[in-house]
């Protein structure tokens, strides 16, 4: 029996190793090249990537891509045995790469500890990307060829340039032809012949790609004596700069609006509790924090459906924070009606209690809230302007929340009651409005909206016990600036502070920009204590 097993193992070993040893001698094989490659240091690897890429085999491209992804391993005991790591779900498997062309085989049961990763660093990855682009340009689909050309833009050497020139006539698609022309033109900027350089400038004027700009800049420096070229190139560059200037402005505006949307979300709940009800609620930030923690808990409860977790978290956070709001109002604030100083102190105490509660329940460490994939990344409008998706969604979301609230206040019975109570409590009571009930609901609504803001903020910042504190000052600032008791004022206040902050930031730095905005608000409040949109008529009292 023992012999039999040994025999089987032996045969299996021979089967596995046999062809390997035979082919190891063959230097042209992918396996031999990879074995050589795995023994090099990073600098040598970078140079050796090209050698690996020139081997014509259908496994070359997958191998380069696997190397780029860090998926190739070799056995610690035998460096000619290569494996590729594959992930299926949470499970990690290794499949041996068979034959001299390293075609992947079925997964094998092998201990990860017996394998060593074939390491690459940034420089090697860069070289791999170029090599992959070169291969894909020959064999890839149209989309792949376009992507390959984009990778190669501004990074051609003379050899690659010649190869590309040969490939160009074979392209049928106009888009690919255009891109070819661009890549080639950028290289021609470095040509010794003045006429050729001038000709190359034509298709490059006004292009936004940073590589193009950099290449023109370098050409201007390199051929400073060629007056005609320098004039022409500077004109082309100026044209580009003008377009870029415009897009930069749009970008800063977007950043400002996006910061404004965060301000709006954080402040709009306060605009209800403080603005409409007149309660100075220092625990407002903690309502935001509770919303963020609700997001975290929702994600814990539905780990398999991360994509939808935020959709569930929004109503859940509204309920949790809203409930806490109603409890606080019924439990504490209703007894302190008309005594702002006591309310301030009491709510400040509540904020400390809530922070400690979260610390005790969840630990003082920050919690990790995942971003669903549909919220990561950016929409690239052109090479200099891309809008990050999470910010776009939050901007749209904040406007949606705002419009819902305006509708609620202007068009519903509850809104009417709330306005009545805030304008003249005694009269409203006399008309049969249950003021206590309305107070609790309004406070709950304001807190619930703060909870919803917490869901959005969990996507932008750290979820920890101190989350609320970092937004409470901004929130008060926005509400006071916009005018207490006015939702439109909060909207305008939030966006103007956000935009002002972002336009100041490049000039003064982030720290100074914050300070300047604060100073501006102090001065503004001195001049106009009622804020941007003061209450008029009887409500103003």
């Amino acid at each position: 029996m023992k012999n039999l097993i040994a025999g089987i193992v032996g045969v299996w070993l021979v089967a596995l190793c046999g062809p390997v040893t035979a082919e190891a001698a063959d230097n042209g094989s992918l396996r031999a090249q990879l074995q050589h490659f795995s023994g090099l240091n990073y600098r040598q690897k970078k140079a050796a990537v090209e050698g690996l890429a020139t081997i014509e085999s259908e496994s070359t491209l997958p191998l380069l891509q696997a190397l780029l992804g860090g998926e190739i391993y070799f056995s610690k005991t035998d460096n000619s045995q290569f494996y590729q790591r594959r992930e299926s779900g949470a499970e990690v498997q290794f499949s041996p790469l068979l034959g001299d062309q390293l075609s992947p085989g079925p997964t094998a049961a092998i201990k990860p500890s017996s394998l060593r990763k074939l390491r690459v660093n940034n420089a090697v990855r860069k070289a791999l990307r170029q090599a992959i682009a070169a291969v894909q340009l020959r064999v890839g689909s149209e989309a792949e060829r376009l992507a390959a050309l984009e990778t190669m833009l501004g990074k051609l050497d003379d050899e690659a340039y010649l190869r590309l020139q040969q490939l160009q006539p074979q392209q049928s698609s106009a888009a690919v032809q255009d891109q070819f022309q661009l890549v080639l033109a950028v290289h021609q900027l470095g040509a010794a012949d003045s006429a050729q350089r001038l000709a190359a400038l034509g298709p490059l004027a006004g292009r936004l790609e940073p590589q193009v700009r950099a290449a023109i800049q370098q050409a201007i420096e390199a051929f400073a004596d060629d007056r005609a070229f320098v004039a022409e190139a500077s004109a082309a560059l100026a044209k580009t700069e003008q377009r870029i200037g415009f897009y930069r402005f749009v970008e800063t505006l977007f950043f400002g609006l996006s910061l404004g949307s965060v301000f709006l979300l954080a402040a709009i709940g306060l605009a209800i509790t403080f603005g409409v009800m007149g309660v100075i609620n220092m625990a407002h930030g903690e309502m935001i924090m509770l919303g963020a923690y609700t997001t975290y808990v929702v994600q814990l409860l539905m780990p398999a459906h991360l994509q939808y977790s935020l959709l569930v978290a929004v109503p859940a956070a509204f309920l949790v924070s809203g409930l806490f709001g109603v409890l606080i109002e019924r439990g504490v604030i209703q007894f302190l009606h008309g005594r702002p100083l006591e309310t301030l102190l009491a709510t400040f105490g509540i904020s400390l209690i809530l922070q400690q509660l979260v610390r005790s329940v969840f630990s003082p460490l920050n919690r990790q809230v995942a971003s669903p994939s549909w919220m990561s990344g950016a929409v690239e409008l052109n090479p200099v302007l891309s809008l990050t998706l999470n910010r776009l969604y939050i901007l749209a979301f904040s406007l949606l929340v705002f419009m819902l609230l305006v509708y609620l206040f202007k068009r519903t019975n509850l809104g009417l009651n709330v306005r009545a109570v805030s304008q003249n409590r005694a009269m409203a009571k006399a008309m049969g409005v249950k003021t206590g009930w309305v107070d609790a609901l309004t406070f709950g609504l304001g807190s619930g909206v703060a909870g919803v803001a917490g869901v959005a903020l969990s996507q932008l910042t750290n979820v920890g016990p101190n989350l609320g504190q970092s937004y409470i000052i901004d929130s008060f600032m926005v509400v006071v600036f916009g005018g207490v008791g006015n939702l439109i004022g909060t909207l305008v206040g939030a966006f103007s502070l956000g935009v002002a902050n972002k336009f100041l930031e490049p000039l003064t730095g982030a720290v100074m920009a914050n300070i300047l905005v604060l100073v501006f608000i102090i001065l503004f409040i001195q001049k106009r204590p009622q804020g941007l949109f003061p209450q008029r008529g009887r409500a103003a009292e």
């Binding site: 990073y42 940034n122 290449a215 930069r248 971003s371 490049p506 982030a510 720290v511």
Partner: protein
């Protein structure tokens, strides 16, 4: 059930109190001064556990000088003035023989007057900005020449970086480090217009403008890198924004001095692949001592997912150096231990040795690691041991100052080589 637990805990406490009293004469007291609450608790709690683990291991080996070690843990609660009070409490009331503690520079600066007045002994385990050498403190973390300068050198040579963004949180460590780096870069021929410096407040979360300006700065056709001294949890939104705006490590690598395994744990690091960090230790370092340390740590903390990091290694080195010096001196008396510490060599976790130097710093190798998809670092460069330099050579006013507590002719932490005098600057 609950009552039973409380009872037994109470009994244990009683027993502990009893033994403390009965064997008080026979223990060596070790003070642990790390925040267990407040903003720094995240990082410092780990170090408290590390010291306790080292003490337990040392006691299992029979303690020191025939006595058991006893930990005295206090909580300065991330409150800088409280660090000074707790130090006084440790030295006068508890009469500890040595303190392991502090994380931020501001907490260390707060401890200095007390520890010098009472002639205590402290080991400080975190990388810092240098420009200091106290008689009573040993700095086992990296000085700028053991972290910042080599990291910049690596980028210059390997990635041929020509343009630099120095981004940091707005406080003393990043400001001093960036001042040193700026002077160093300029001495290497980098022009002023190729250096961009940007500071952000603690806990900054709106990184879109800054990341976009980094992108703009890096699109001028010269290879650009970011040297980040951004500290604390502001790193999370910073790296998220880098990922969202599509800044890959191949275009603009970010090398961080305050981001280690602990900070990356529980973070999706796939978009950060290839960004760098410079430390004197990574968990992925291959050495026997390291794998032993990692399994010891995981067993002690009873969590297989916990990671090790650089300040833990610094604590490990500091503790072992102190233990060895105590054995050599045959006493725990501060001055005796201090003079026997000079020249002591203990193994580090990366396969080499750390030597305690007369300027109260130690020699350490500098490692550069690239972030991997699993939250670990892949070591792409490792230097031989570098001697820690208390006063940087790259600022004119510091270059002429040296520190030497062993040489009786100097015997101070701020000896001016030109005037041949100690400046008398205390901290």
């Amino acid at each position: 059930m609950y009552g039973k637990k409380t009872l037994s805990a109470g009994l244990a406490a009683l027993a502990l109190a009893y033994t403390t009293v009965s064997v008080a004469e026979d223990t060596i007291k070790v003070g642990v001064l790390h925040s267990l609450s407040g903003t720094m608790a995240i990082s410092e709690t780990t170090l408290k556990d590390t010291v306790l683990m080292m003490i337990e291991a040392q006691n299992a080996k029979g303690g020191l000088l025939g006595k058991k070690l006893e930990a005295v843990v206090v909580d300065p609660a991330s409150n800088w003035p409280l660090f000074a009070e707790k130090t006084r409490e440790l030295l006068t009331k508890e009469e500890v023989d040595v303190i392991f503690g502090c994380w931020t520079s501001v907490s260390r600066k707060s401890v200095l007057p007390v520890i010098e007045e009472l002639n205590g002994l402290m080991f400080y385990p975190v990388q810092y900005e240098g420009e200091e050498s106290s008689k009573n403190v040993f700095y086992t973390g990296a000085a700028p020449n053991q972290q910042a300068i080599p990291a910049v050198d690596y980028l210059m040579q390997e990635a041929e970086i020509k343009r630099w963004v120095l981004a940091g949180t707005d406080y003393v460590y990043p400001r001093t480090t960036n001042k040193i780096l700026e002077a160093y870069l300029k001495s290497k021929g980098v022009k002023a217009e190729d250096i961009m410096i940007s500071y952000t407040p603690f806990g900054h979360s709106d990184w879109q403008g800054i990341v976009s300006s980094i992108k703009k700065f890096g699109s001028a056709g010269k290879a650009t890198a970011v040297v980040s001294t951004v500290n604390g949890d502001a790193n999370v939104p910073f790296y998220k924004e880098l990922g969202n705006q599509g800044i890959s490590a191949e275009d603009i690598p970010v090398v961080a001095f305050s981001v280690g395994e602990e900070e990356l744990s529980g973070f999706d690091t796939k978009p950060l692949l290839g960004h760098l960090a410079a430390w004197n230790y990574f968990q992925s370092a291959e050495s026997e001592a390291n794998s032993e340390f990692i399994s010891q740590w995981k067993a002690y903390i009873k969590d297989d997912k916990r990671v090790t990091n650089d300040p833990m290694e610094a604590t490990y080195i500091g503790f072992n150096a102190w233990a060895k010096a105590v054995t050599k001196a045959g006493s725990t008396e501060v001055d005796a231990v201090r003079s026997s510490l000079y020249g002591i060599k203990v193994p580090n976790l990366t396969g080499g040795y750390a030597e305690v130097l007369p300027n109260h710093h130690i020699s350490k190798p500098v490692l550069i690691g690239e972030i991997q998809a699993d939250g670990q670092f892949e070591i792409v460069s490792q230097t031989p041991e570098v001697a820690g330099d208390a006063w940087t050579d790259h600022l004119a006013e510091s270059a002429k100052i040296i520190s030497n507590w062993q040489d009786p002719a100097i015997n101070c932490g701020n000896y001016n080589k030109e005037t041949k005098k100690c400046s008398g600057q205390k901290y």
